[in-house]
């Protein structure tokens, strides 16, 4: 599904590689967690996978489409949920969702139905005509997520989707993401929350200093390094590397 081969990324004003000899295979219908400390290269990897920036060298193939030649096709089948609340604060939730649906060419009638349905699922239908700047962090996160899935992407990239939200909103978000996963959507996700990743991900890759250290199922990984939980495994692995 996603084949990352010998990826290197060096920013112009940097002496070190943000990604170095990074290879990874993410299979269909996984919830794949990219875990690592700050500066590990998670956001750079997400930016490359979504086509926002180009790698210095290496190759990315998504659903048999090569990113170098088929970027626009890839962008149609992926959804992005950035770490920021990537919404227009002075527009209502409905206006935001309509705009982001339209840029993916979702037909108007289908889009309106989807907005209604999806906002009901995440408990936001009552607030559709309220402006984003009147929302709490959790409400913004939910609309932020919906803006990335209106066009029913095959693969969803989530960058720290639960940062700054209350526990109720976090549970609601993760439950809904599980539901999407059960419907067949593959999810690539970055997080600092190891406990959240342990429960949520079917597969995790631990990254440090631009390199992939290990890829495994969370439980298997904990067992491999003889740790108590994923957090301990993560600390041990990143310390060693």
């Amino acid at each position: 599904m996603i084949e990352i081969e010998k990826l290197y990324k060096k920013y112009k004003n940097s002496d070190v590689f943000a990604l170095e000899d990074f290879s990874l295979t993410i299979k269909q219908n996984e919830i794949h967690g990219l875990l690592g400390p700050n500066g590990a290269g998670k956001t750079t990897l997400m930016s490359i996978l979504s086509g926002l920036i180009k790698p210095t060298s290496g190759n990315v193939v998504i659903q048999n489409l090569n990113q170098k030649t088929d970027l626009k096709k890839i962008q149609k089948i992926i959804g992005i949920v950035p770490q920021e609340y990537a919404l227009y604060p002075t527009l209502t939730a409905r206006e935001n969702l309509e705009f982001f649906g339209k840029i993916y060419k979702v037909p108007s009638k289908e889009l309106h139905e989807k907005i209604q349905l999806l906002t009901e699922k995440v408990g936001m239908s009552k607030f559709l005509d309220k402006k984003i700047d009147s929302f709490s962090g959790g409400m913004k996160r939910r609309i932020n997520l919906l803006a990335g899935i209106l066009h029913q992407p095959e693969i969803l990239f989530l960058d720290e989707p639960t940062v700054g939200v209350d526990i109720q909103s976090k549970i609601a978000l993760l439950d809904y993401l599980q539901e999407l996963h059960q419907q067949g959507m593959s999810i690539v996700y970055t997080s600092h929350h190891m406990a959240e990743a342990e429960d949520f991900c079917t597969q995790v890759t631990i990254m440090n200093q631009g390199k992939s250290i290990v890829t495994a199922e969370p439980k298997e990984l904990i067992k491999q390094v003889n740790a108590y939980n994923l957090e301990e495994a993560f600390v041990n692995l990143t310390k060693l590397s």
Binding site: L52, I78, P82, E84, I103, A147
Partner: protein
């Protein structure tokens, strides 16, 4: 692609409508600006023409020349002779103090024996000339040395250069005319005749010819000068909300969503261009309506657009494109709103200053005139003046339009390239 473009335009319009500060910058401030500046300039001209400016006057001559100067000043209509202060005759020290304190704009001191010495000098010269022709070389009546005379002019240091020049020129002309008449008179006297048939009336007259079209004579007035200049200034101010809009998209993260969507980047740019072009044309229409309909109600000349309406709208489209290109570039370069807003506003003020919005380009130094040529505001302003005041056709301003279009294209590509470069940086 069309549905994506329409969605972008709708989004941009909604963002603008909800931004009250932006709307004030775009629509209210330009109106206030155009009305205020035109009204101030009109009232300045009017007050200069109507008001009676007091002129401190000391007459040590007490003869024909000072009488002529006094008479001319008294009859000028906008200058009034003042020879006494607090009931006492004015002294030169008092005159100097009063003028340099700014209580009076100008003071004139006519030296003693000016008329007498001038006439003596003229007679001396005439006598010399006639002696050269040997009409009568034996009699030399005017053989004394006469020193040159100085009429002292005192100006308030805060007085404008134009006023100073004007007063000096008027006095210079008066003295020259008087001198000429005295020369003729001296010839008549020396040749022993009371009437040699010299005609003292002006032989050369001045007539201002203004551009004409088949229907009417286009007389430049304060409205015809100010409306295009300040409308252009307002149009270029869209640089501020447009660059803020782009910076906000970057800081909010919506930029990431847009760049990672299948929608071509060009659609986003076209969406912004169309929206801000509509805004510019609305601004222009609003100012035009006010200048045509409201100006006459507030004692200002109405703006005339007879036969040039389509041409000035055509030029406005290209001027707006240049402004949009600049806004896109500043938006791409700036990292925060704190950078884009003051930088954009200051840049527009600089472009307006060097572009001739405040001071005509011809009045600038050679060095600054070269700079004026690189200001898109100058290209647009020159185009407006060509259409409105010089009675030229749209075809004649095509070079201006080409420059404005090139400016849009260059700034647009620079913005796209810089944005790409920055992301990879």
């Amino acid at each position: 692609m069309l549905s994506q473009l329409l969605a972008c335009i709708k989004k941009e319009i909604l963002l603008l409508i909800r931004d009250i500060g932006g709307l004030v910058i775009l629509f209210i401030m330009p109106l206030i600006l155009v009305i205020t500046v035109t009204k101030i300039q009109k009232s300045t001209y009017d007050s200069f023409a109507e008001a009676s400016i007091p002129v401190l006057f000391i007459d040590h001559d007490q003869d024909s020349i000072s009488a002529i100067v006094k008479k001319h000043i008294s009859h000028s209509g906008n200058l009034k002779i003042v020879t006494e202060l607090n009931g006492k005759k004015l002294t030169e020290d008092e005159l100097k103090t009063e003028v340099f304190k700014g209580k009076y704009q100008v003071g004139i001191v006519i030296p003693a024996k000016l008329s007498k010495d001038l006439n003596y000098k003229i007679n001396q010269n005439v006598e010399k000339i006639l002696n050269e022709f040997a009409f009568d070389s034996t009699q030399v009546k005017y053989n004394q040395q006469v020193n040159p005379k100085t009429i002292k002019l005192y100006f308030d240091p805060a007085t404008s250069l134009a006023f100073k020049e004007n007063v000096s020129n008027v006095l210079d002309k008066l003295i020259t005319d008087t001198e000429n008449k005295s020369i003729y008179k001296a010839f008549q006297q020396e040749m022993g005749s009371n009437d040699l048939g010299f005609q003292n009336e002006k032989f050369i007259h001045f007539q201002e010819i203004v551009p004409e079209d088949s229907k009417s004579v286009l007389k430049p007035n304060v409205t015809q000068h100010n409306v295009p200049a300040w409308t252009l200034f307002a149009i270029f101010f869209i640089v501020v909300p447009l660059s803020i809009n782009i910076v906000k998209e970057k800081s909010l993260g919506t930029h990431i969503r847009l760049l990672t969507s299948p929608m071509p980047y060009s659609v986003q740019i076209i969406g912004k261009t169309i929206t801000y072009l509509i805004i510019s044309l609305l601004q222009f229409t609003m100012i035009l309506c006010v200048a045509k309909l409201v100006f006459p109600l507030i004692d200002l000349p109405g703006f005339k657009t007879d036969g040039i309406l389509f041409s000035i709208y055509g030029l406005t489209i290209f001027a707006s494109l240049a402004a949009i290109g600049l806004g896109l570039l500043i938006g791409a370069i700036a990292k925060t709103q704190e950078q884009s807003a003051p930088f954009g506003a200051t840049l527009v003020v600089i472009l307006a200053a060097i572009g001739g919005v405040w001071i005509p380009v011809f009045a600038m130094s050679d060095f600054m005139q070269h700079f004026a040529k690189i200001s898109p505001m100058n290209w647009a302003l020159d185009g407006y003046y060509s259409l409105i005041l010089r009675n030229q056709s749209f075809l004649q301003i095509v070079p201006n339009i080409i420059l404005l279009t090139l400016f849009y294209i260059i700034t647009l590509f620079a913005a796209i390239y810089y944005d790409k470069f920055r992301r990879e940086d």
